[in-house]
Symmetry: C2
Subunit: 341 residues, 2 copies
């Protein structure tokens, strides 16, 4: 790798062997309900705290990914996960429950691709035969921590986004079955933190847009390709406003990007009549939409190559209260459907 | 790598080119003051919040590591960092300030070695020519979040530990200057989360001890060595009580470990007359003691091989309030002084 480059190329094309995707009641009423493996009709999920329900979503997603391959957790060497809750306790408690050696990550809503990028790197270089990476969020647990308990019924501005209740986990391996096609991870770009001085936690899509644009531009430059190399470039959760901002910014930077090939996970998951303001967000947003919905469409032949650009707003309630702006980041992972030979 | 193993062997022996270590006033009065590059006589460090001071400590440590190699931040490809503050904002804001592509980590006080293990893996396989990893904590920022604002003067039990104000950063590279000796990273073991059901946040050393023991036993088994392979096995911050618990546990498991070769960073940093109860802790504890003090002793020829086992208690104030136990983890990195050929 040359100094100045921030993209890893995975020559061995690690595969996503299987995924597990779980969601909550609002997701069950959403546009992509069919693409979830597990859906709950209650936010509590039989637990006595929202945080335990949050943890449970991730545990279920991991279990589902294992089941699809008829594998046991003992066969998995590492578990890379993170979420938005203070000290990422849902992920760490899930790691305590499954007993898989654990690397805790924090990238806010960019965690899904931070985890997939690191997983692909580790597997590509034989640091593991099998590992699992996941990201998750729970609407009530996250809203209460970052904004207000949902029971307060606080009003939100139209720039606000709706935190997804859901978890997505991917089982990454060096190779699949001979001759079979899988989603193969071909490269990943690690983003830098971009802070444009925005400080409105009800407009995180707007704050994250420059970070997404920066990472996409960097990725294409590092791999020496034009945007049309991809059938789809999909951001994590910029929402309506952030997506528009990012698109215009990239156009201005000379990127020849077609609007219909630039989509956002936060705009896919819910129906038009579900009032989610500017769109969905949360660490579980890109994780559920990509590992569930988009990989399904890949397998159906709709997309050959996707660039998934998960975006994260790295604020805390305290940093906001202390008057600091919102630093943002985006990590991009390139996935190609095919054999890994 | 074989399934069942959780240790990475780094054939290319990535080197720690340089380190930067910063600390606060209590550390300036401590036993290892001479081994810090920068010491502040005031906890605020000229900032208007403790969190900004926390961030500043990490920024300084990174800058110092760069200066020692006369390198610019633009030459560094990735920055892997984490801390104990909600949403690891000190690390993320430091990443915003230095502009280096960033991977946010959360492993509580195990973050130092989580970062060094991943950094070594990435550099070993040419995923970067140069990267920086760091971990940090700030007594007042961390105490206020996890326990009580220090201004309250709350009483503590003898099992409690004192959070270090300090940051340690390491510049990791594929190779050093021809023929010169460096601390070389030879292997790393990723720990699993161990939860023994303990729930007293004033006795985290005791809670972390089984995780430390588990990772040390696993490491030695994976590399096929006895404990005397190392001149020193040093844990992150078990403190007096945790160290004793871990030592006895390993003895019971049949590990032939000599007591004087099993030390703890949390017992090294302060003087006997500094009242720190069971010892020091915090993500900055193992980072400052290892990157400052221990590497200096290595260079002086006192140790040829060290195993650094950073331990983390993965609780949050909320998980404790909700009656949950304290899941713990430990990651081990093996460092050998010599040339990297």
């Amino acid at each position: 790798m040359l100094t100045g480059k921030h993209t890893w190329i995975f020559q061995n094309r690690p595969v996503i062997l299987s995924t597990g995707v779980s969601g909550g009641p609002f997701e069950a009423g959403g546009k992509l309900a069919e693409d979830f493996d597990i859906l709950h009709d209650d936010l509590w999920m039989g637990k006595d705290t929202y945080e335990k329900a949050h943890q449970f979503l991730l545990e279920e997603a991991v279990q589902k990914a294992l089941e699809k391959q008829q594998m046991q957790k003992e066969e998995i060497q590492f578990f890379l996960a993170g979420d938005l809750i203070n000290q990422i306790t849902p992920s760490s408690f899930a790691a305590a429950a499954n007993g898989i050696p654990y690397l805790g990550l924090f990238g806010a809503c960019s965690t899904s691709m931070e985890g997939l990028a690191l997983s692909a790197f580790i597997v590509n270089y034989s640091g593991a035969d099998y590992l699992i990476t996941g990201a998750s969020s729970h609407n009530a647990a996250v809203e209460k921590q970052f904004r207000y308990p949902t029971e307060y019924g606080g009003q939100k501005p139209p720039t606000a986004q709706w935190t997804v209740t859901g978890a997505g986990a991917a089982l990454v391996a060096k190779a699949g079955k001979d001759g079979a096609a899988y989603p193969c991870i071909t490269s990943a770009t690690i983003g830098k933190v971009v802070d444009m001085g925005l400080s409105d936690p009800f407009n995180m899509g707007g704050a994250m847009a420059p970070a997404a644009a920066d990472t996409i531009i960097k990725h294409l430059k590092d791999i020496g390709q034009d945007p049309d190399y991809y059938d789809l470039i999909v951001t994590g959760d910029l929402g309506k406003i952030g997506r528009k901002t990012a698109f215009e910014y990239m156009k201005k930077q000379g990127l020849d990007l077609q609007e219909e090939k630039f989509q956002d996970c936060g705009l896919m998951i819910y129906k038009e009549d579900q009032e989610v303001f500017s769109g969905a967000s949360g660490a579980g947003c890109s994780a559920t939409v990509f590992y569930g919905h988009l990989l399904k469409r890949m397998k159906q032949g709709e997309f050959k190559r996707i660039l998934v650009v998960a975006t994260g707003a790295l604020l805390s309630p305290l940093s906001f209260q202390q008057g600091q702006s919102i630093p943002c980041i985006a990590h991009a992972v390139s996935v190609e459907y095919g054999t890994n030979a």
